[in-house]
């Protein structure tokens, strides 16, 4: 049994010298092959006067026609890092490496991964392998580190109710960052820590937030000197069009139900108690 490592090496504090500086950036995670919400987001970004746009990984999975999402990202000025899905696809692995432990979660994850693997072109798999696992930049005077799951592991789940302050402090301390941004769980959250440190789960645009509404979410970060502002922004898109395409591709009805209703129907066992309580299933 050969498995690839999802571990990252982050204890490198000397990497901030060449990092670019911005004041206003847009961040999003988990496209999950929802190229329609991605199209809507990219149009929205044009109106927002952001200096840079970052995708925090997991471009494929769940939705239809994965190549369309890769190609949208390649054609635009989005800077993208690798999620566990992207690592698995690019290395030809047997599963998505999502980090689920429950067989029911893994059942649906495998359906999604097999479809995505079969429908991702080799040039796009070759592109995925070029993506970095970490991205660093400055936002005004603040040092920002981007990763997919956590700085130490690409597929680590950092839920709001499972991430203690002292752990988040340690991630920031180890990397030398003031702001840590990540995704992977599918649920957005922000926490300001002591010492003007910040952690942001930027959410995902591939599927709704398990809140009974079909819209998805992305994040705007602004900073002036040491002052950070974090905005979570809802994105409405033509989810009926996505549903039609998912049906044509014979994707599971459970996935379609999530897009339609906004409630997660699969991969729910990985959620901690507090997050699970907020959903329907």
């Amino acid at each position: 049994m050969v498995k690839h490592s999802q571990s990252n090496e982050t204890r490198e504090q000397g990497k901030w010298g060449d990092a670019p500086t911005y004041n206003r950036v847009i961040l999003f995670g988990g496209v999950y092959s929802n190229y329609i919400s991605l199209e809507y987001l990219l149009k929205e970004c044009q109106k927002m006067d952001a200096e840079a746009i970052f995708c925090l990984g997991d471009i494929g999975g769940f939705g239809p026609h994965p190549n369309r999402s890769y190609e949208h990202l390649q054609d635009t000025k989005v800077t993208t890092l690798a999620g566990n899905y992207d690592l698995s696809l690019s290395q030809g692995l047997d599963d998505c490496g999502c980090g689920y432990t429950d067989p029911r979660d893994n059942h649906f994850a495998q359906i999604s991964y097999d479809y995505t693997f079969q429908n991702t072109s080799q040039p796009n798999k070759d592109w995925l392998i070029t993506l970095p696992r970490l991205i660093r930049f400055r936002l005004a005077d603040l040092k920002v580190l981007l990763c997919h799951g956590s700085p130490r592991r690409t597929n680590e789940f950092l839920w709001d109710s499972s991430s203690p302050d002292h752990l988040l402090h340690r991630f920031l301390e180890d990397s030398g960052a003031d702001v840590l941004c990540f995704t992977h769980t599918g649920l957005k959250w922000y926490r300001r820590l002591t010492g003007n440190r910040h952690t942001v789960n930027v959410g995902v645009i591939g599927r709704p937030e398990n809140d009974g509404t079909p819209n998805v979410w992305f994040t705007l970060l602004e900073a002036r000197e040491q002052d950070l502002k974090c905005f979570f922004l809802p994105l409405d898109y033509n989810h009926s069009r996505l549903i039609d395409e998912m049906k044509k591709e014979h994707l599971p009805s459970e996935f379609i139900e999530t897009i339609q209703t906004g409630w997660w129907t699969t991969c729910t066992e990985i959620m901690p108690f507090k997050e699970r309580l907020r959903g329907r299933f």
Partner: protein, 292 residues
């Protein structure tokens, strides 16, 4: 002369999870499959002193540990357990592994209050060993089936979304008549109690403790570890503290070879040996003792 078996090591990565063997090997049940033979009269590992537990929690905070699991034995036998839990949840998410028998209405109310007041999640995992009463009670003891389900329901009614933890003991005893989908059986059982959002975790049986050691034990070999992601094994990211020290794995608590420290967590953050047949179970089944 017998050839010496080469024992592979698992690389230590980071301490993410701390287990606390809070009640030692003391339990109010004597389950026929218990991997550390816990029982009302098993004092091999005593109750942990409260001060010692608090000391480990402080060190865990300094080390950036992500979550805490309380196990035993039966954690609710510890006189200070609810206070320790409340203190823990101020800093960490926490989980309890319990047989549920001591979760009466009063304790269920207190657990609900503690869970509500914490920013972090409290997971309560209640053990059952079969969806049929007689089969469960033959493993866990007469009358336990009804008491466990009553405790589960109490927690559910208070919005705590408990996890039902089930071993594959039915398959171990009767491999030919095991159900195709055990999850459905437990979903159906909990549904009959009015539990509409069941959480269920199925765990493999470990042939140790109260169960006989297999005739032909299988061990992890160095070849099996080549190219294997060590982080898939919990000993790369977890430790368990007991009254007598720190062990590499919650399954191997009270096993001399797994004892890797006697006072501080920091000294236990080392590569450890995959020497036991239980290591093979972890390796081959992808078992995680954690909730998710």
């Amino acid at each position: 002369m017998m050839a010496t078996r080469e024992i592979p090591k698992v690389a230590f990565h980071d301490l993410e999870t701390l287990w606390v063997q809070i009640s030692g090997t003391l339990c109010n049940l004597r389950c026929t499959h218990c991997f550390i033979s816990c029982a009302p009269d098993n004092h091999d590992l005593p109750m942990m002193q409260t001060e010692k537990i608090i000391g480990y929690l402080k060190e865990a905070e300094q080390l950036g540990v992500k979550d805490i699991y309380f196990t035993g034995g039966e954690p609710f036998l510890h006189k200070d357990f609810l206070s320790i839990l409340e203190l823990t949840l101020q800093k960490f998410p926490a989980s309890i592994l319990t047989n549920g028998l001591l979760i009466n209405e009063d304790r269920a109310d207190k657990l609900a209050r503690i869970a509500q007041h914490s920013h972090y999640s409290l997971e309560i995992r209640v053990s059952l060993d079969d969806y049929e009463e007689t089969r469960n009670d033959s493993v866990r003891g007469l009358g336990t089936y009804r008491k466990v389900l009553a405790a589960y329901k109490r927690l559910w009614e208070r919005g705590l979304l408990p996890i039902l933890a089930v071993t594959e003991i039915r398959e171990y005893h009767s491999p030919d008549d095991s159900p195709l989908n055990a999850f459905e059986k437990y979903v159906e059982l909990l549904g009959s109690l009015g539990v509409l959002r069941p959480r269920i975790k199925i765990i493999p049986v470990l042939e140790m403790g109260m169960l006989p050691i297999p005739d032909s034990p299988r061990y992890v070999t160095p070849q099996m570890m080549m190219g294997f992601d060590h982080s898939l094994l919990q000993c790369s990211t977890s430790r368990i503290v007991a009254d007598d020290g720190i062990y590499s794995c919650p399954i191997l608590v009270n096993e001399e070879q797994a004892l890797i420290g006697d006072s501080t967590l920091s000294e236990s953050l080392v590569d450890c040996d995959l020497y036991h047949t239980a290591c093979t179970t972890c390796y081959t089944t992808g078992m995680t003792c954690k909730n998710y």
